[in-house]
């Protein structure tokens, strides 16, 4: 039976081969209609889709807004998604396809730093602008711009400045000096804590326990009980937006809530998070690149439109991709052309008015992003100051 081949099996094989052969023909043409094609590399299937989905929706909303307003110099914008599944191999495949098949001139991506690091050389080789909006690994900008990779730009904060400002506020204003670490086990969570450690001696502060949670972790009772009994005065947390409410709720369960404030970043200020566990979030300190409650008409309009369009509330990932798409459109408008080199130069000298304030790029193509320091008071974020400072690049 197995060796006996029916015509049906041959046909089935031909069908599969045919599907694979789609790789061959079907070449996209460079936008003759003058559309501006922006590729978006992000995880869109599998577990990491929970972040990529917000990215895509944010970017698509921005494209829709721009197109409704007449486009950029009369040209419409299309967002072309490329699924990275959160793995470098898939991300590179997606980017190469976007560049070659879909003939995109600009790419926004990825969320995961490990993927972004793999995308950088491809974009560099193809002379395609790679605008990152969600990876926090400092290496990405260390090696961008003056560091060598001219085509990578990052519109996302490096955590050094953030870590310092947060620690300073906690130590000086709140008189907290003993901390427990409970951050996400990624370059973002680990990196921010590494920066924090650099500045601990300056404030006579110390870390008493150090734990990192894996993405998707849901059980924090044991670690919270340990933190509760450790003598720490606050929990340093650089975490994920979807995990913060889980931890906050278990802080109530384990009796940590109200005793140890959360300090760091992880959408502590989102309405849904606070609603999930108001007692745990009270007094939390956060340095945020954006917050839904920010008092700015553009920001408010974005929050409202996102909720109306997708039936869910916007998060930081949605915002940064929305803002980055607008930023790119402004760059194209400023260049007065879709020529990549001109757009690149335009970005380097852009003064972009974001919902949070003015954004400019430094000589490492890293955005100087306005950030705010906030504290949760009576169940709502209260702004305590601005976060600013230049990034110190390592000498190489």
């Amino acid at each position: 039976m197995a060796f006996h081949i029916h015509r049906r099996s041959l046909l089935a094989m031909a069908g599969i081969a045919g599907a694979a052969a789609v790789v061959g023909p079907a070449r996209a043409h460079r936008a003759e209609d003058g559309t501006i094609r922006i590729g978006l590399v992000a995880p869109m299937s599998g577990p990491n889709a929970r972040y990529g989905s917000f990215s895509l929706r944010g970017a698509q909303l921005a494209a829709k807004e721009i197109n409704d307003a007449g486009g950029v110099g009369g040209r419409k914008i299309t967002i072309i998604p490329g699924d990275s599944q959160g793995t470098p191999t898939e991300g590179v495949s997606a980017l190469r396809r976007l560049i070659e098949r879909d003939k995109v001139d600009y790419v926004i991506g990825d969320v995961t730093s490990g993927v972004t690091l793999a995308l950088q050389p491809i974009a560099e080789e193809a002379n395609v602008l790679l605008l990152n909006a969600a990876s926090s690994n400092p290496t990405i900008t260390y090696r961008a711009g003056k560091g060598g990779m001219k085509w990578t730009y990052r519109n996302y904060p490096t955590d050094e400045v953030r870590a310092l400002v947060v620690l300073k506020y906690a130590a000086e204003q709140r008189k907290l000096t003993k901390f427990s670490v409970l951050s996400v086990d990624s370059d973002y969570g680990r990196g921010a804590i590494a920066f924090t450690k650099k500045y601990l001696p300056r404030f006579n502060a110390s870390i008493v326990t150090e734990d990192y949670y894996k993405e998707g972790e849901v059980d924090f009772r044991s670690v919270l009980a340990k933190i509760r009994d450790s003598g720490a005065q606050g929990i340093l947390m650089y975490g994920l937006a979807d995990t913060t409410p889980i931890i906050a709720r278990q802080m109530i369960e384990t009796g940590v809530a109200g005793k140890l404030p959360l300090i760091g970043n992880g959408e502590f200020n989102a309405e849904v998070t606070i609603k999930a566990a108001p007692r745990a979030l009270e007094g939390a300190i956060e340095a945020a690149a954006w917050l839904p409650a920010w008092d700015n008409p553009r920001s408010k309009a974005f929050v409202a439109k996102f909720a109306a369009e997708y039936r869910e509330s916007a998060n930081n990932h949605a915002y940064v991709h929305w803002e980055t798409t607008h930023l790119l459109a402004k760059g194209v408008a400023a260049a007065g052309s879709v020529d990549r080199l001109k757009v690149r130069d335009a970005l380097s000298s852009i003064k972009y008015e974001s919902a949070m304030g003015e954004v400019t790029f430094d000589d490492h193509n890293q955005a100087r992003l306005p950030m705010v320091l906030l504290q949760i008071e009576n169940g709502a974020p209260s702004i305590k100051g601005a976060v600013s400072g230049e990034i110190e690049y390592p000498r190489t």
Binding site: A49, V223, V272
Partner: protein
């Protein structure tokens, strides 16, 4: 010091009960199918998602949402069981692995396609904390522990006392002989598969309130958590699975307390390897199936 240990052991039992309900379904499916079900966590996800849809779209109260979650999963499981799992009976282990991987991809990404990949907030359940003998936990967790114990008592009774349960045991021991004595193996496989999937869905719907967020890809972690448990418990062994789940829960809790949360995911497999080195067939003999 001592009380910390006691508290952390209790914490471990709390998480162990979640694992137990998922794992027991998987181990029963393994019993009759001899196939590792890589899609098992997806039924956990479907249960949680079904309940979420019932709460968000139909405004049902939480208990009704749990029922909806299980019913939806049961329907999907029956379809998958009829179309795919029945064909795995008697096929090679390789076929089972590939087929269940395929099912996992389809279910996971179909949910992402329909509802969007983003995480959703689950509103409902009984999340207020209560104190029992100085040990604080959410009401929902008390409910989970009670349900877990009830599920295991019911399963023990079922496989010992009812005809359907005996048929499951028979199929898990020798499908060929079952055919001879007139047991419809295909039907038993379908029933067991649907029951196992429903137990996973029950666990998903029950834990959704304490886990706060649900998303299409949430099942994968559960699948990989469950796999070492069912091996440790002795494949196909219901009682063994219960104890293995508790052991894993406690071991994870102790590692999070004394070593570090970042090593937590390795605990399951590290424990499994140690156990297997000592007892290659798991802690609980596979001879005593169910």
């Amino acid at each position: 010091m001592f009380w910390t240990l006691v508290e952390q052991v209790l914490n471990g039992i709390v998480s162990g009960s979640v694992y137990a309900i998922v794992a027991v379904g998987m181990t029963m499916i393994f019993g009759v199918l001899r196939a590792i079900n890589f899609a098992h966590g997806e039924y956990y996800m479907l249960g949680a998602f079904g309940a979420w849809v019932a709460v968000e779209y139909i405004d049902l109260p939480y208990p009704a949402a749990v029922v909806i979650g299980i019913l939806v999963t049961a329907l999907i499981a029956l379809a998958v069981g009829w179309l795919i799992m029945q064909r795995i009976v008697g096929a090679t282990a390789e076929t089972g692995v590939l087929a269940t991987l395929g099912v996992a991809l389809v279910l996971q990404n179909a949910v992402i396609f329909i509802f969007g990949g983003s995480y959703k907030y689950f509103n409902g359940g009984y999340i207020e904390p209560v104190t029992i003998f100085g040990f604080m936990l959410a009401e929902q967790r008390v409910l989970i522990i009670i349900v877990c114990v009830l599920v295991f008592l019911a399963l023990e009774a079922m496989v010992k006392l009812t005809w359907a349960g005996k048929a499951m045991r028979a199929v898990s021991q020798n499908p060929l002989c079952c055919e001879v004595v007139g047991i419809d193996v295909g039907k038993v496989v379908l029933q067991t598969f649907a029951l196992g999937a429903c137990l996973a869905a029950l666990s998903g719907a029950l834990t959704a309130p304490v886990n706060v967020t649900v998303y299409g890809g949430m099942g994968e972690i559960i699948t990989f958590k469950t796999l070492p448990i069912i091996i440790m418990g002795g494949l196909g062994n219901v009682r063994g699975t219960f104890f293995a789940a508790m052991i894993l829960g406690v071991a994870e809790s102790l590692v999070a307390t004394y070593i570090g949360l970042q090593y937590r995911d390795t605990v399951g497999f590290a424990t499994l390897m140690l156990v297997l080195m000592w007892r290659p067939h798991g802690l609980f003999s596979t001879r005593a199936r169910f």
